[in-house]
Symmetry: C2
Subunit: 214 residues, 2 copies
DNA sequence: GAGATAACCGTATGGACATACGGTTATGGC
DNA sequence: GCCATAACCGTATGTCCATACGGTTATCTC
């Protein structure tokens, strides 16, 4: 047997290169040659791990979106462990989607760039759609738990509430990214984000939890 | 004097070509040659009216965003003329931003494509930011009018409410575009849109108008 | 009706890039 | 230690495209 390499690790390394380039200079700047350099390898090696540039970009997109989805899920889990209210842990999770710091801002830019290119490619579009569904389902679960617990009125339409919460979060992300300095009156970004997010959350989570733990 | 042409009309004609191509096949498909063909003219003529491709795209982006902004303003004006509630005319205006029919869907796709490319170009980003500010200001005016009229409680923060309404609208647009068939339970798109939009509007416009006209 | 000038056309050119490909190197098993 | 084979490299190739450019046509003015 010849020498071996960790294919998955290599691919992730390349995807990180894509992420860096795209977030700094946009998707058009992500040529194979530049991606190779950014990942510290040669053009030929990148070709070795991906059959085409399309496959490369698709993988990178999935990579980034998975990271976001995972982080959101993680925050929800943390919230449950901390035994806070469901509304509080959902708030923490949703904030993971907002471009509030360098890391998340970078991810947001990448997601935006790929969303734009999704007009061409059904495959890319599917990645975005899947991520969106996954997020909305996670929110819906939180709302459902809220019903059992007493934080949410039983007659609330779970799916609709989830759609509304996701909509306000995504829309807020758009605005935060366009105006990173914060609006006239409101000072730090974090406050502005809560000022938009919390009223919507409170309109769904109107009650308080009856029992100590689910 | 030699023969003359309507420069503005020509430029708009070209911008329409861009819009068609981008909405059907994405920004990458918008080569100068294809734009020329789609607008029914030669490559040379397109060059005659735009100094560079960047300038061409910038103009086209402005063109599309202006159209959206104008349509929104128009709906608000219509609502005032009809003497309905402010909430009702705002609802009509916001629906102009949603990808509910072919026309608006096409515009949404173009806006999305350009938003993605805005990572490269500060000029493109500025167009998006301006449009966003314009929309939020229009909403803020509506909320302000609502206060005078009695539809909105005086202690509501106008800017924040506007940001929230815009956020939910933009976020809803994202979801509608990704799932054009409508979600499991909800039948036509229009209903689904209202189901998300109206609760948010009602959380701002809680009262009824005291006087017959402003 | 003449000619000046803008409107308009088609092709040439040079650059950028994705991909193909032949070659080199290192390392697992024997 | 040797050899098979994957890991890895650099360059060649052909395509696509934005832009440059020289040429043609129509029309407004006088």
């Amino acid at each position: 047997m010849p020498r071996t390499a960790d294919h998955d690790a290599r691919r992730r390394q390349i995807a990180e290169g894509v992420r860096t380039i795209v977030s700094e200079a946009g998707l058009d700047a992500a040529t194979v040659a530049r991606v190779a350099r950014a990942s510290g390898m040669s053009v030929g090696l990148v070709q070795h791990y991906f059959p085409s540039k399309d496959a490369l970009l698709l993988f990178a997109y999935r990579h980034v979106m998975d990271r976001i989805g995972t982080r959101v899920a993680q925050r929800v889990a943390e919230g449950e462990a901390a035994r806070g209210t469901i509304a509080a842990s959902l708030r923490a999770a949703l904030r993971e989607m907002l471009p509030l710091d360098h890391e998340r801002r970078s991810e947001y830019r990448v997601a935006q760039a790929f969303a734009g290119r999704s007009l061409d490619s059904a495959e890319l579009a599917e990645v975005g759609a899947q991520t969106s569904r996954r997020l909305r389902d996670q929110i819906a679960v939180a709302v459902g738990n809220g019903k059992e617990c007493g934080e949410v009125e039983p007659e609330v339409d779970t799916g609709l509430a989830a759609a509304r919460v996701l909509a306000v979060t995504e829309g807020l992300a758009v605005q935060l990214h366009r105006e990173p300095h914060g609006r006239a009156g409101t000072h730090p970004l974090a406050e502005a984000a809560d000022a938009v997010l919390l009223p919507t959350l409170e309109s769904v989570f109107t009650g308080t939890c009856r029992q100590y733990s689910r």
